[in-house]
Symmetry: C2
Subunit: 407 residues, 2 copies
């Protein structure tokens, strides 16, 4: 029999579609154990712990928990606070006062660092506290994981959006540029590739943060595609950078900011990227029908587009976290490893190995020209977006011979 005491669970950082599955996994698994005297949820992540904003999840009905599990975004609300040493000391003080013996934090790689520091504090004070980091992120950039909960559903949304955009672009041809979030890693933008069904389908070009973006190459490549197909669908990550490794977005903001005499203080820059690229295509390639859209935050919040595989795994990392801590008395970060095609295993890694680190798209996922993805990537991604992914069908009927001369 392990530590007797309370559980605190919290959610930090940007929400995902399946983040509540992890919460539910922790809560239901914890409540099974007689060691656990109460299960607290902290409102607004670590801010909630700081302010003692707890709700007693031991008093939450299992039915409602399941419904919440299916609801996107952090049911316990969230925070963007990035605790330093002093902050973590305060967190520990509150946890100790409430007789908390198990701390579960669902978040990205910086959350892992928070958990690590709180764990250090507990060790120094000789206070028995089990601390587990539970991964989540739509960017898929947490190290040691084959992929992270939240990515599969966000990728599915991006893929469905591009599937539709490809059809739209085919029915009213032109150049259509769509910007996808992801400042450092291109996994989400790359997910657009699942829209490529027929050989002439888009996105015809995919630009990722992992490759230097050159305007001249971009224009040349768009022209090639447009000349061949009479249309061009482009997926662009907001994180594309130039030769000096500077974000294209920030260069644009400076230009607009100065030129507009401070009239327009831009709050979100990514839309501007799409429009900028559209305008240079229009000007340089003399193509009339050019437009751009930006996917914005919808892939992390859209209610009604979810990967069942992602949902399932998000639930499991929550359950495993509780099992590792309560039954095996361990600390660490839960990681997902791929064990087959397609199957996964859950392991626990040291918090320090995960904390504050990020990963990016490996070379074998990107084509040599640096403007698309490889089949290897699509093979990697396909199981993650789950079942029931809609396809797109075309008419197959034969042509009718013309009988009049053309005018």
């Amino acid at each position: 029999m392990g530590l007797i005491g309370k559980v605190v669970v919290a959610q930090g950082g940007g929400p995902t579609i399946v983040i509540n599955q992890s919460l539910v996994g922790v809560v239901l698994e914890s409540r099974k154990s007689t060691q656990i005297t109460s299960v607290y949820g902290a409102i607004k992540g670590v801010e909630g712990i700081l302010n003692e904003d707890f709700i007693d999840l031991t008093m939450e009905t299992s039915h409602n928990l399941e419904q919440v599990g299916l609801t996107p975004s952090s049911a316990l609300l969230s925070t963007r606070d990035k605790p330093d040493e002093r902050y973590c000391q305060e967190l520990f003080r509150v946890l100790k006062a409430h007789d908390i013996r198990y701390f579960f934090y669902i978040g990205g790689n910086d959350s892992a660092d928070t958990v690590r520091i709180v764990n250090d504090n507990a060790n120094k004070a000789h206070y028995n506290l089990r601390t587990i980091h539970i991964p989540k992120t739509i960017d898929n950039d947490v190290v040691l994981n084959d992929h992270t909960p939240g990515y599969g559903s966000a990728a599915r949304f991006v893929a469905q959006a591009f599937s539709g955009a490809n059809l739209d672009n085919r029915s009213l041809p032109g150049v259509y540029i769509i910007v996808v979030m992801g400042r450092n890693a291109g996994f989400l933008t790359a997910a657009s590739s699942l829209a490529q069904k027929f050989s002439d389908d888009g996105p015809h070009l995919i630009y990722l943060p992992e490759r230097t973006f050159r305007i001249d190459d971009f224009l040349k490549e768009v022209k090639e595609v447009y000349d061949r197909y009479g249309r061009c669908l482009v997926a662009v990550s907001e994180g594309i950078r130039d030769e000096q490794h500077r974000l294209i977005i920030t260069k644009l903001v400076d230009k607009i900011g100065r030129d507009a005499h401070g009239n327009l203080e831009l709050t979100s820059n990514n839309f501007l990227l799409g429009d900028y690229l559209a305008s240079i295509v229009k000007k340089n390639l003399n193509i009339k029908r050019v437009r751009s859209d930006t996917l914005g935050y919808f892939q992390r919040s859209f209610n009604g587009c979810v990967s069942d595989v992602d949902q399932h795994e998000a639930r499991e990392v929550g359950e495993k976290a509780a099992q590792f801590a309560i039954r095996q008395n361990l600390d660490g970060s839960v990681v997902i490893e791929r064990s087959g095609y397609y199957s996964v295993e859950y392991h626990l890694k040291p918090l320090a190995d995960v904390a504050g680190k990020t990963r990016v798209m490996p070379d074998h996922f990107i084509n040599p020209a640096g403007n698309n993805v490889t089949d290897t990537f699509k093979f990697y991604l396909r199981p993650l977006i789950g079942s029931g992914f809609p396809s797109a069908y075309r008419l197959q009927a034969p042509r009718v011979p013309k009988i009049l001369e053309s005018e």
Copy 2:
């Protein structure tokens, strides 16, 4: 027994999620009749007729037709051509040469005008030609219809996007402004209101083209909401206008266009609206976390978000069109009328009564303050978005008493 001859069906204007259901309805119903010698599909709308770009849909398998029916965007591709008298004379000439006796055009209100003029040409030439306009539009602005095919699914997408955005805004509070397409009618923007589940849910403010937009009122209203809830989600139509009835968007483009010394030629203006509103909120209300997103074209193309009611009705207007023309020897525009809650009937109206006219949100759908919609509107809309609309659930657990003094 009516006219013996061929059918031509085409799709015009912006695509919708369910536009192929109407195509399939026409084709399958036409093929049942022994009067119909062939069913042609014109590629790229009226352009296809002009260029004799026909495919023989009598040779399309019913199974593939059903799959295409489920695929968004115009399977026959589309056109933005708006035919004048001379163009329509040419269209008639081609139709006559191919012994076409039935012309079905799936499109918005300007498509109805095309059909009307072609019909006139046929009458003048004493050539027996049945012409039917089949409605479609995501904006819901075709007159004489309770609603039009394409709207229900687009509205569902908007509602699901806002449901998620509301959850996102609740978990990481701030001011979140989302721009929705719709230059003249606010039906699509208004659909965001279905995200309002709990009394503090957003969108807290909805700004439509049907009401004058005043910056001062906007800032005052955002502040009121933010002060009350600590957050604010705003739905804004891209078609909002000032007191002089001028589109806010165009005023911004002028400002940017001139100030940026022509460096940036803006191709799509709607994103700029969101960012402009976000910047004035930031500056005037001194709120730090303010962001904006624009839904863009996704609500008309997204593959995997559809209203079954919309799908069903889109199929039926296609079938009815074929029945009206082939079995009853009539010309006109198919309209949908609401006959119960919830049921519809299909009727045929004169082409001239529909052609070139638009409708907007009636007063009883908009609240007196002009910044939200009424329950009457939500009641009107709810059946159109179909079954299986995802809800959003909240935790209900009780608060835990604090035991430390606050810092």
